[in-house]
C-alpha cells in the first residue's frame, strides 16, 4: 500500500540504474545510515561496542570480501582466516615501523598488502576449480598461520609471539589501545564498512563485477565472449583480499588489541565467514550484512537469554547455543537455500503487491 512502485517515475537513465530505485528503499537506507552515524554513537557503551557492534561491523567487511570472491566470482576460498591474519600482522608491522603514520592509512595499506598476498594465492585458481581450489586456499590458510607463528620478525621478536597494538589516534581521539572510547572505535569501523560496502556495490554492478559473474556462471562461455579469466579471477582475489585485509587490521587493532595467530585466525574463522555468506546469501551485498549479523548476534542473544535471564549454568548455555545456532543454520538452508538475502527479497516482492496480490 505504502511500499510500491506506482507513481515513482524515472525520467533519466541515471535515476533508473541507481542502487535503490524505490523511494521507500532509498529513504530506509538514509535513515539507517543516519541512525548508525548520528544516534547509535550517543548510546553505545563498552559492552555494546566490544561484544556486539565491532564484531558485526568487522565480520561484515570480511563477509563482503569473501562474497566478492565466492559469491560474485565463484571461486571457493577457505583461506579467509589466513588473509585476516595477513591484514592484522601487516597493520602491526606498519604501525610499529612507522609510528607517525595515520591509523586510517595504516588500515588501508594493510588491505593493499593483503591484496598482494591474495593475488599470489589466487594464481592456482587459473588452473584449478571448485573443490580443488578450496584445497589450494586451505593450504594458504595453514601456511600463513604457520608463517606468522614461525618467523619472529612478524611479531617483533616478542617473547610470547603475541602482537599488541600501540595506541594511535586521529583528530585527537584514540582509535586503538585501551584508552579508545567506545563511540570512536565504533565510528571508525562503521566508516570503513560504509565506504567498502559502497565500493563493493558499485564494483559488482560495473564492468568488473559483470566479468566476475560471467566467470562464475560459466567460465568457458565467458572466455569465448571475451572476458579475460586471468584479469577477472586475479582482480576478484585482489579486491576480496583487500576487504579481508582491512577487516583483519580492524579485528586486531581496534577490536581485540592483542592477538595470537593460531587462535584468532585459525581455520574456524575461515569457516565462520564462509557460513556467513552462505546463510546471508551468495552474491548479495545485503546478504553479507545479514549473514554477519546472524552469526554474531544470535549467539550473544542466546547467551544473554540463557545465562542472564534464566540463570542457567554457563556450560549448559554454551552447549544449547551450539545446538540452536546449528539447528537454525540447517533450518535456514532447507527453507531458503539462497540465504537470508533471498528471504528479504521475497518479502519485499510480496509487500510490493500487498494487499492486492492479483
Amino acid at each position: 500500500m505504502f511500499y510500491r512502485q506506482a507513481g515513482d517515475f524515472k525520467t533519466t537513465y541515471r535515476d533508473d540504474i541507481q542502487t535503490f530505485p524505490l523511494k521507500q528503499d532509498r529513504w530506509g537506507y538514509y535513515i539507517v545510515l543516519a541512525v548508525a552515524f548520528l544516534v547509535v554513537p550517543f548510546f553505545i557503551n563498552d559492552y555494546w561496542t566490544s561484544a556486539v557492534m565491532l564484531p558485526f561491523l568487522i565480520y561484515a567487511i570480511a563477509a563482503l570480501g569473501l562474497n566478492i570472491l565466492t559469491g560474485y566470482c565463484g571461486q571457493v576460498s577457505l583461506g579467509t582466516g589466513g588473509f585476516l591474519a595477513v591484514g592484522a600482522y601487516a597493520s602491526y608491522k606498519i604501525m610499529t615501523s612507522f609510528p607517525d603514520l595515520n591509523i586510517f592509512i595504516v588500515v588501508l595499506l594493510s588491505g593493499v598488502v593483503t591484496a598482494a598476498v591474495g593475488m599470489l594465492f589466487g594464481i592456482p585458481s587459473l588452473r584449478i576449480k571448485g573443490f580443488y581450489l578450496a584445497v589450494a586456499t586451505l593450504a594458504a590458510q595453514f601456511f600463513l598461520v604457520w608463517l606468522f607463528n614461525k618467523v619472529p620478525w612478524f611479531y617483533n621478536n616478542s617473547a610470547s609471539g603475541q602482537i599488541s597494538v600501540p595506541e594511535r589516534s586521529m583528530f585527537g581521539f584514540a582509535i586503538t589501545g585501551p584508552n579508545a572510547d567506545a563511540p570512536v572505535r565504533y565510528l571508525f569501523c562503521l566508516t570503513f564498512l560504509v565506504l567498502l560496502a559502497w565500493v563493493a556495490r558499485n564494483l559488482t554492478r560495473g564492468r568488473l563485477g559483470r566479468s566476475w559473474m560471467a566467470i562464475r556462471d560459466m567460465d568457458i562461455a565467458a572466455e569465448i565472449i571475451g572476458v579475460n579469466p586471468l584479469k577477472s579471477k586475479l582482480s576478484a582475489f585482489a579486491v576480496s583480499s583487500f576487504f579481508i585485509g582491512v577487516a583483519g587490521a580492524l579485528f586486531f587493532s581496534v577490536y581485540l588489541g592483542a592477538v595470537e595467530v593460531g587462535e584468532a585466525f585459525g581455520i574456524t574463522q575461515s569457516f565462520l565467514v564462509l557460513f556467513m555468506i552462505i546463510i546471508g546469501g551468495l552474491g548479495s551485498i545485503f546478504g553479507s550484512f545479514a549473514g554477519a549479523a546472524f552469526l554474531v548476534l544470535v549467539p550473544v542473544l542466546l547467551k544473554n537469554i540463557m545465562v542472564n535471564w534464566l540463570g542457567w549454568p554457563t556450560d549448559i548455555a554454551v552447549h544449547i547455543e551450539f545446538m540452536v545456532v546449528g539447528g537454525l543454520i540447517v533450518l535456514f538452508l532447507i527453507a531458503e537455500p539462497h540465504g537470508l538475502a533471498q528471504l528479504w527479497r521475497l518479502a519485499k516482492d510480496k509487500f510490493l503487491l500487498w494487499p492486492f496480490p492479483h
Partner: protein, 429 residues
Amino acid sequence: MSPLKIVGVALITSLASTAAMADLVFPSLSYRTGAYGANGIPFADGYADYFTLVNERDGGIGGVPAKVIECETGYNTQKGVECYESTKGENPLVYQPLSTGITYQLIPKVTADGIPMHTMGYGRTSAKNGMVFSNVFNYPANYWDGASHAINHILGENGGDIKDKNIALVYHNSAYGKEPIRTLTELSAKHGFKLTEVPVDHPGQEQKSQWLQIRRTRPDYVLMWGWGVMNQVAIQEAVNIGYPMENFIGIWWSGSENDVIPAGAKANGYKALTFHAVGNDFPVFDDIKKHVVDAGKAAGAGDQVGTVLYNRGMYAAMLAVEAAKTAQGIHGTADINAAQMRDGMEALVMDAAKMESLGMAGFGPEFAVDCKNHGGPGLGAMQQWDAGAGEWKLISDFEPSDMEIIQPLIDEDSNAFAEESKIELQECA
C-alpha cells in the same frame, strides 16, 4: 545496516540486564566446554566453592557477602573480551582469566579501567615488575620460575652437571607455550645443555609426528608446556613410545589427574611442577565438605574436590579473599572497590600463621607481595604421579628459581613494554 539487525539489536537491548549489587563481586572467566574444559572445570569449581565456603561459614569477607559471576570463555580470546566487557559494569574486584591469551588482551584494558588482574602461574611473566604493570599480579610463581625449577630439578638429579644433555620442550604453540623459551635458551647457554623445541598446534589432539621426532632423537629429558586435551595425548604418546616417565616433566598446568589417568598404569612416575600442595589432607576440606558439598551448594558436579586443579582454583580464591581482607584493613571499609582491592593485593602477606588459621597450613609457600615485585618469590615444588595409589605426591620442598637469569629478562621485557606503550612507571616507596 539492515532492518534485521535493528530487530536483533532491539531484542538484545531488551534482554541485556545488569543489576547493581552491594556484594563483593569476583568474576570467574571460566571454561567448562571445549578442548580445555577438562582442565577448566575443576579450577572453576574450586574457585566458586571457596567463595561459597566463605559466605556460608564466615558470612562473607569482613561481613560483606562475595558474589561469583561466572562467564564461559571456552579459552577463546574473543569470548574472553566479551566476558570482560559484560562483567566490568558490576564493580568487579579482580579478574582471573585462566588463559594466557586472554591475559594479554586484558592487561591494557584492566590498567585503563583500574581493575586488578591476578594471573596465578600464567599470563605475562614480566608482569612481575609492579612498577610497569601496576594492575597485574602473578604471585606466587610464573612460567620463567617454572622453567628454572624444572632445570634445577634436572641439575639436582645429575649432580649439577648437565653439559651436553639433550632437553626437548614440547609446547602448546601459543603465547602460553612460547613463554618459557626465552628463559630456557638463557639457561641452556648457562648450563650447556641442548634445547630442542617441539611445538604442538591447538588443540593438540594429533601429536604423532612430534613424538616420532622425540623417539628418534631420544632426548635425555622432555619438558612440557601443555594444557587441555594436549596433556592427555602427550602423556599417552610418551607411554606409547616407551619414554621413561621419570624424565618427563610437565609445567603445573600439565600435572592434574585428568592428564595422567587416561594413560593408565604406565603413566606412573610422570613428574609435574606445582606451587601449592596436593591432596585433600587439610582442615579446610572438612569445612568445604560440611558447608558446601554436603549442603548441596557445590559448583558443577561437585566431584572434583581435592584434585590438583580444584585445589588450584581454591588457592586462587583464597588469595583473592585474603587480598580483599588486607584491602579492607588498609582502607578501613568493608565495602571495597577495585582500586582498594589493588592496594590489598599489593600489600598481601601470606605467612605460615595465616595459612594455619585458614586450615591450610603448608598448602602454599610463604610469600609477600610489594609494589615493585608483583610476582612473589617464585617458589615451586615437584610432584610425581603414583599410578598405583592414583594420586600425586610432592617429592620436593618449595624451592627458589634462578633469579640471576630471570630478573634481567623480566626487566628487559617489562621495560620494552613500558616504552612501547608509553607507560609511566608506578612510584614505589
